[in-house]
Symmetry: C2
Subunit: 391 residues, 2 copies
Amino acid sequence: MIKFSNIKPDNFSLEFSSLAREKNQNNDKIISFGLGEPYFKPPDKLVKLVNKAINNGFNRYCHPQGLLSLRQQIAKKYSFLEENIVITAGAKPALSILLKILLHDKDEIIFFEPCFPSYRHQIHLANPKAKFIRFNLTKNFSINFSNLKKKINKKTKIILINSPHNPTGQVINEADFEDLLKLAKKHKFYIIIDGVYNDLIYKPYNYNYLDKNIIYFSSFSKVYGITGWRIGYLHSTNQQIINACKYIQMHVNTNTNTFLQKAISDYLKNDDFKIKFRSKLQKKTFLLEKIFKKNQIQINIPMGGFFAFICIKETNLMSDDFAFLLLKKYDVAVTPGVLFGKKWDNYVRICFAVNNKDFNQGINKFIQFYNEKKTQAINSKRIKPLSNKIS
Amino acid sequence: MIKFSNIKPDNFSLEFSSLAREKNQNNDKIISFGLGEPYFKPPDKLVKLVNKAINNGFNRYCHPQGLLSLRQQIAKKYSFLEENIVITAGAKPALSILLKILLHDKDEIIFFEPCFPSYRHQIHLANPKAKFIRFNLTKNFSINFSNLKKKINKKTKIILINSPHNPTGQVINEADFEDLLKLAKKHKFYIIIDGVYNDLIYKPYNYNYLDKNIIYFSSFSKVYGITGWRIGYLHSTNQQIINACKYIQMHVNTNTNTFLQKAISDYLKNDDFKIKFRSKLQKKTFLLEKIFKKNQIQINIPMGGFFAFICIKETNLMSDDFAFLLLKKYDVAVTPGVLFGKKWDNYVRICFAVNNKDFNQGINKFIQFYNEKKTQAINSKRIKPLSNKIS
């Protein structure tokens, strides 16, 4: 049950960027660092496999849990068991199904801000009587465990983490992961891991996803440039959870698109695309580090995914004003930090999954705008005390 | 929130038929009248348009409401407004979203049995505190309005109808539709119409779907043989409902597959496929009428879609036994009536969207089995009183 009055438009992220893309189509040459989508077309080989799957008859209903062949490929990759995986129409449906199953009335779920804006809405839609606890990351985007422990109690049912993280590009380290898992086991809650950027971690980590307190979900959207295709998956070693997921999938969705499942399962048998993409992204982070350092602008270098979250405090602008003025003056679209949490209005997110030319031009324009606004901010501070004296 | 203990496997329909299909693949030559899927491949032209849409870049996120071009095609077909339509990943998600929005605690929803088995689960998942009222159709599969009126009260929020109807193949007539609508306006409830077989009504009807008490949803699955693709839509002239649907779609699904939306919108501009399919189905109903009449087996001839619901009372078998024995002896798969409602255990559903050869062979085997079991039933009745006398 949802109340009509509770529904407010909250799709700045999508609408702003679709506006930017429209302007691009009108030859306004807007560089979009806005939406979380890579710039490239899907791999040719994958497109051919889609066509092949359709022609080979993969157009009918399939099992609600998903095609065995795709679950086998995913199982192989993570050392999962195929019976512990459910294929979903993307990562959002995976999380929605999990929240629907796990969040009972009065249960508490902790998530970290800045965060992906849909989380709080997904929680509300799963159970409006569950309580969500926003927990802010530190200034260097890590978890303060002593503060976190104060938020954990008997009602804590889930801690939701996203790694690599949207919008900061940070990756949880193994020590923090283990500490979280210890807390989960001690206090009997689940850790749900949003791993949609998991294939884009620059330096590999080794996490234990097989623990029964861990539930993992991910998608194929971000790595292959197929955000609009809608295909993802979830994993849990708890068979009750998997059975409940199958039940919901069966009655709410029937199944995830059959030919896409077949095509992707064939594609995963021999995929070097993601390694190349990851390497390109990492090179861009080196460039980011160099340019920002040179201009003495602080940046937390991303460790995975394709987002950087940049502090704009020096410009004295709120994040939505910064984004609007940057788009207006320099035709560069970024996402205001305030969309990822009220306390993050001094930040903007850039998506650097763009081609090299756009990246170089866009970052230079960004820096130029930043420096202009920084100078203005310094000057206005100098003027203000003077005018105060005059008045 | 759902309880693990409430989750019971209820996918006989899918599993039975997938077993039948597997046997088919093993060259066991099973004729499947089981699952609600047409036998053919998707139209070649549509498959080409899918490939074209992918190659033209329709692989990214799109608006949660759906591509304008597809909404325009749907609007044109029904005289809807494009802003009143939301594209969903099939009919089931459309209904789930609507139930989620409309069903508040203690609200009542009436649906007619026999019915599509997912309805009750979808209602439970949308709001376990809503009450569902099963209302049985008459023996000729129509609505007894004087009985129905007794079920309507202040808490009645929704009446859910499916026309053409699964499993009976009956179509609501305009007079009954108007009577329902009058009741809806008088008692302030919504009529949700499941129109997934709407394109397969043999004789056209003229319904007023534009009334604010009517919500309509449908899919492209059944007409084009694309049940596994997952694409459908919903319509309401109530803008609050549409806004709520967009909100849920945004946060639970992001959007429906983008290239499918583009391909189908192009395809609908010039589609003669469904007219041919409908005509083939209607011819099969003429054959059904002829064969059943000849064998003196009662049948309500379908008026749309591709199901017939056949009374098997004369065979003295429960519907699941009938289905099991028919598959075992004659390699013909049908769906037991009990899956569509407890009181319909004297019926089996056949899906006649099969090719002509399978249709002819399958129906002949069905009739042969039916007659054998009918004879056995008559003989066992004759024997029983005799044995009673002896004992």
